[in-house]
């Protein structure tokens, strides 16, 4: 019932300051080092079919890059929010807080994925974002989206799409949390993770979990023991091999069939 993800005691308070605040304070400390046109993730975070001019305009939106060490916060709930973020490399989790102190992982974000979209509505972030591994993000102040949009319709539409896509994703999570049983949730989670890793050119069947059982359980609305038991069961059933955080899917169709009834 208590907060599950307590702050590591070995962080000094300075270290715990969220980076977002830091970034907002900067004028232009890190001009766009590598333009989007040369980024290997271009196909992931930019819409396909952009003209060179469009890409240049999008590139101009990227205010700076930001490096996070493992366990460092990108932003915290309540921080004033002027930017959205694109993950370049690494892994980030976002966590929502219930007034009574309970908290829940609301998403994991990997290369090419955009986060921070929940902060636009109120100007304050509605969740914490924390790096699960050393992570590199592009910082995109969204007022630039708004002003640039006058010139670049394609870029503007892209943000609309990203926002809508996030609604769709959260909606699927609602379905998962409200209608699927524990085994179905875990199978869905693994296959979703696998598919997203494939989009980055990694193996669909052999990967490392960057989060703990507790964090997986928190996202899926179940206890860590349940996650562990289900992973063990999947292994016993020959669907996958799991050794700590290393997953190898042995029977992807079998796993798929666990997703629905």
């Amino acid at each position: 019932m208590l907060a599950q993800h307590s702050i590591k005691p070995d962080f000094g308070t300075a270290e715990r300051e969220s980076v977002a605040a830091e970034v907002r304070g900067m004028v232009d400390s890190r001009p766009n080092a590598s333009p989007c046109s040369e980024c290997r993730l271009r196909g992931l975070c930019l819409p396909t079919g952009l003209s060179e001019a469009d890409v240049r305009q999008f590139s101009s939106l990227v205010f700076s890059h930001r490096r996070l060490k493992q366990d460092q916060a990108l932003y915290r709930a309540g921080d004033s929010c002027g930017s959205v973020y694109l993950v370049r490399s690494g892994f980030i989790k976002t966590v929502i807080l219930h007034p009574d102190g309970r908290e829940q992982v609301s998403g994991f974000y990997m290369a090419g994925e955009m986060l921070g979209l929940d902060g636009i509505a109120s100007g304050k972030h509605a969740s914490d974002a924390t790096a699960l591994t050393d992570t590199d993000v592009c910082v995109v102040p969204y007022d630039r989206f708004e002003t640039l949009s006058h010139e670049a319709e394609t870029v503007q539409r892209h943000l609309y799409r990203m926002l809508s896509q996030e609604v769709v994703r959260k909606q699927s999570m609602m379905l998962l949390l409200g209608s699927l049983r524990a085994e179905e949730r875990v199978a869905t989670f693994l296959l979703n993770l696998s598919a997203r890793l494939v989009a980055q050119g990694f193996s669909a069947s052999d990967f490392i979990l960057r989060m703990t059982r507790d964090e997986i359980g928190s996202l899926l609305g179940m206890k860590l023991e349940t996650v562990s038991r289900i992973l063990s069961k999947f292994q016993k059933d020959g669907l996958l091999e799991i050794e700590g955080k290393h997953v190898r899917i042995l029977n992807i169709d079998g796993l798929r069939s666990m997703m629905g009834h």
Copy 2:
């Protein structure tokens, strides 16, 4: 385990056609009858502090109005989506579908609230939207948002905000579904409904549920029997009176204290 909200057998196939398709076919059958500047919901669906010119521009976005009878669909999952909708009066539920046939209510929408935002990403609606009562909506083709945005930054920003707000709402639902117990969920639901009714000028403590126990349960990730039992318990505990769909909250603080352990 089967689909819970089966189509009423007394609907003919023509009747079941979603209205969205119909609307898209129209050129301009119902020019904006009542401009936004005169709408009593202006404070709800428009950002405050808009200039008269801004309001006029927003008003020009509203393509047409649409009247739905109870149980009629506004759109269905898979329908191609060119508009978002603002509820003028009445009550709409949206339902997400799992590939295996299960379905779940993803939201209820009342006057002043915007729906259909999940369709922007892919150009196809990701859910069904069905009227729970006779309902009147404003149809806002969002390509107009995109083109008009060139002139009206405020209006454009408004859509960003609405989209982001929807992300926040879905996120709160994730927290509810993943971390709250059944009683907490029902209490949260009732108080949320109450607050939204207040925004429309209705009583906070005395209102009619426009949805069935099954639909409430579906939104909250529990069975209709559980909803019924919990409402009865709340009544027994003197928190509220319930008689069918008529709710009267007797102890709003008591109910609030049910939300968080």
